[in-house]
Subunit: 119 residues, 2 copies
């Protein structure tokens, strides 16, 4: 399959695909929030210093900016968003079952690129 050089603009999302995408997106966000929550609980448990709360504040403020940048539910950028989420294991291939082959391929390739860049 030859990839369109600007595939984002070309993709059509069917009603069914939109349902799959929304569920996968929401699951990923819930998983990542749950992970942040566990990390905060660990930070508080590890430290006996009352001032540890200010480390928590800084950690959460950073995470919020990261989450806001990452979780962008616009169809024009959504395969790129899922690529990152797949690379970071917040979504699995199973979550994406029901998306068209072209989209899945874009997401997988994108995930590979993200992994390389993050390595």
């Amino acid at each position: 399959m030859a990839l369109d050089p600007s595939p984002r603009l070309e993709l059509h999302w069917s009603h069914k695909e939109k349902g799959v995408a929304r569920a996968a997106f929401d699951s990923a966000l819930a998983r990542e929030n749950a992970s942040i929550k566990r990390e905060v609980e660990n930070m508080l448990q590890r430290s006996s210093e009352p001032s540890a709360v200010w480390d928590v504040l800084e950690f959460l403020a950073t995470k919020q900016r990261e989450i806001e940048r990452k979780y962008d539910y616009r169809y024009s950028v959504l395969t790129g968003v899922f690529a990152r989420l797949l690379a970071e294991a917040w979504v699995t291939e199973k979550d994406l079952v029901g998306l068209g082959a072209e989209k899945l391929e874009l997401i997988r390739r994108g995930a590979g690129t993200v992994r390389e860049l993050d390595a």
Copy 2:
């Protein structure tokens, strides 16, 4: 005792008083931080929602602004600072033993005013 209308400018802090003030100030801050930490732990325990971390972020950001405003260790404003901390029970009269009678009186009166304003 007649209170000077601008007593803050007149107060001299002895070396011993500075030591008492610093210890009382630091204790109050540690108590208030510990209380904020407990509140955060309770918020996280009460809620099963992963998104509860964002309520924690908002709570901590508000508390940080409040703490920064309240804990101002300049001798020119320190009796007023202790008045609020006494009114809110972050310092006790016992913590302030060693301060001069004039300062204690200013702090007690100020605490009364703060309680009235907050009531």
